[in-house]
């Protein structure tokens, strides 16, 4: 029946994901040291970017509210995880990054990161979500900036661990931060985190909660006239989204030996930037969680290859110059996507491997409808 078909779709996707993950990990393990240096950090980065994009999609794509401070929640999660793991380490609960004790600390840190970010999300969401559109964007933008400064000025977030110091220097070589070997060894933690978080988000979206928030996105007045408590669902979604952003913070803390607030700030030129996460959601498709996953991975790879890629130096000279300004490349990529797929790569569909046989037909239909649209516009012009 229908239910069974959905189950197969999920299972096929899931199996493919496991295979992909196994291949990547296998490459890292067998490919020697240089390969390991490339693969391990990349998988960790991908894992937090994926969860960041998907969790923002809950607010941006499903609830339809523009939030520009998502990295603020990640920062809170990162610092919460770092501080807690450090506290355990100082208390002598674990000495080396292995064994059951360390693993327990890892779990506690990740949970604490999620919960602290969620609490903050609740606190920020209750007043902020009374506003809409541009105003909400400005408030959340402000939040993202403020939180970084707050953390910067907290006495216990600095160099000297829980006592003193400035936050923009190394926080805790002795805390969670993994070496390259450990990153490789704990790669499954990153993979598992992605799978669990994505599953939870899917379950949320495919339930009365998901229906309610999509209804709010489509028409707020009609949603409340259908008995939806709009403010409750808005704050709930915002809080859940912040929870997952907090978890990505913990992942970030794991794969970086040093923690600095500047990595989460708005002016951060790297791919980890609240605005860039918005771009991922838009490119992937607002309202498509799998779209967010695809966009996060694609944009990560683009960013990675521009920075480290051999293919850039193979390009003609003038193009090489363009690629020295990665932001320019992203803008062009974004414009191209928006031109051809105004609703993102996936729109509001979910990606399913089972659908691939239907792709040629869909692509054909896409171009015929585009051509028809163009012809209709021309027709309209010549009449007007």
């Amino acid at each position: 029946m229908k239910q069974n078909r959905i189950k197969t779709r999920y299972l096929v996707n899931f199996a493919a994901l496991i295979v992909l993950f196994a291949v990547v990990v296998g490459m890292g393990m067998l490919g020697g040291n240089t390969m390991k240096l490339k693969i391990a950090p990349s998988v960790w980065q991908c894992s937090y970017l994926i969860i960041m994009a998907a969790s923002l999609n809950l607010v941006l794509g499903f609830l339809g509210q523009l939030s520009l401070g998502h990295c603020g929640f990640m920062a809170v999660g990162a610092y919460a995880a770092a501080l807690i793991s450090l506290a355990f380490q100082r208390a002598g609960f674990y000495t080396e990054k292995a064994g059951a004790a360390f693993f327990l600390v890892l779990l506690i840190s990740i949970a604490a990161a999620g919960v602290s970010a969620a609490l903050l999300g609740l606190l920020v969401g209750i007043p902020a979500l009374r506003l809409k559109g541009d105003y909400l964007a400005i408030i959340t933008l402000g939040f993202g900036m403020i939180i970084v400064n707050v953390i910067n000025n907290l006495p216990f977030c600095g160099q000297q661990g829980l006592s003193q110091g400035s936050a923009s220097s190394a926080l805790y070589a002795s805390g969670l931060g993994f070496s390259n070997d450990e990153k490789m060894q704990y790669l499954w933690v990153a993979g598992l985190a992605v799978i669990l978080c994505m599953t939870c988000m899917f379950m949320f979206v495919r339930s009365k909660y998901g229906r309610a928030i999509r209804a709010i996105r489509d028409n707020e007045i009609a949603a409340s006239a259908s008995g939806i408590n709009v403010s409750y669902y808005k704050v709930l979604t915002f809080t859940i989204s912040a929870f997952f952003a907090g978890i990505t913070g913990a992942l970030y803390a794991c794969c970086n030996a040093a923690l600095a607030t500047s990595s989460f700030s708005f002016t951060n030129g790297s791919i980890l930037n609240s605005v860039f996460i918005v771009v991922m959601v838009v490119v992937g498709g607002m309202g498509s969680l799998t779209g967010s996953v695809i966009a996060a991975v694609v944009l990560f790879l683009l960013n990675y290859t521009i920075k480290n890629g051999a293919w850039v130096s193979a390009l003609p000279a003038f193009l090489q110059n363009v690629f020295t300004y990665p932001m320019l490349v992203y803008s062009i990529a974004l414009i191209i996507v928006i031109m051809f797929r105004p609703r993102g790569i996936m729109g509001s569909r979910e990606f399913a491997l089972c659908d691939i046989p239907q792709w040629p037909g869909r692509i054909k239909a896409y171009f015929t409808s585009r051509a028809a649209g163009k012809a209709a516009r021309k027709e309209g012009k010549s009449h007007g």
């Binding site: 939870c200 009365k208 229906r211 489509d218 009609a222 006239a225 008995g227």
Partner: protein, 257 residues
């Protein structure tokens, strides 16, 4: 002694002003279960504003709305719906990026009591609630003649069916009072006839009180048991259809003095 029945819906001196404009003043109505009352008046008379007052979209500057004798002052729109007042919109407001059946299911959300954990772990409670809602939504779509369109996007429905979907969605809230704002607007005679039978089915089957705003006079005169007429926010007449049809003030309001 005759038993005094509390009306399902009652308003007392309901009114609202926007700045200096008295959009609705001293609006009083009493409706019993199963009654179909028409609310008519020229454009801009304040009919839609009355609906907005009855659903908590606007906060009245005076007066109260009572449902089964319980005042609803200070409640929010979704609480009006929980109490049992549902409505449709004059300018259609569907959830455009959702399927037809999802549009109906949204309105069942308030009666679904599973938690976030139930949803995450897909407990039997979750499946049971979802199945019940799917069945219920299909049943309502059946009544409104949309069962075969359940899985298409609501925005791709033709206009007349979009209006019917709005009604199905309102029904899904399990209301005691149904407010229909110009449901036949823009419909052709066949669609209007279908709508009429749909409204009658609803009243017979659910025993709800229906308040109907409509411009199509023949429709109003045909189906409504009572009619209330407003003009410039004031009630100028109320009574049986034939009384209204012959009321000089109503005729003057419609023809313009």
């Amino acid at each position: 002694m005759a038993e005094v029945k509390t009306p399902v819906l009652e308003t007392k001196h309901l009114g609202i002003s926007f700045g200096g404009l008295h959009a609705v003043q001293d609006f009083n109505i009493q409706m019993n279960a199963g009654e179909l009352v028409g609310l008519i008046g020229p454009n801009g008379a304040g009919k839609t504003t009355v609906f907005n007052l009855l659903t908590g979209v606007y906060v009245p500057t005076e007066g109260t709305v009572l449902l089964n004798g319980v005042p609803l002052n200070g409640k929010k729109t979704h609480q009006f719906v929980e109490a049992g007042i549902a409505r449709t919109f004059q300018n259609i407001r569907l959830f455009n990026d959702m399927t037809v059946i999802e549009n109906v299911k949204v309105a069942c959300t308030k009666d679904m009591h599973y938690s976030l954990l139930d949803a995450t772990f897909r407990t039997p409670k979750f499946w049971k609630a979802e199945k019940e809602v799917t069945d219920r939504a299909m049943e309502l779509l059946e009544i409104c003649g949309l069962a075969d369109k359940a899985d298409i996007l609501s925005s791709s429905l033709p206009y007349g069916q979009q209006r019917k979907l709005e009604i199905a969605r309102a029904l899904a809230t399990n209301m005691k009072v149904l407010l229909l704002d110009e449901p036949a607007a823009g419909m052709n005679p066949t669609e209007t006839a279908e709508l009429l039978s749909c409204i009658n089915t609803i009243r017979d089957r659910f025993g709800v009180a229906i308040l109907l705003i409509e411009h199509d006079m023949s429709l109003v005169m045909n189906v409504c048991e009572r009619i209330q007429v407003i003009d410039y926010g004031l009630t100028i007449a109320s009574g049986l259809p034939e009384e209204i049809a012959n009321n000089p003030r109503v005729i003057a309001a419609y023809l313009g003095e």
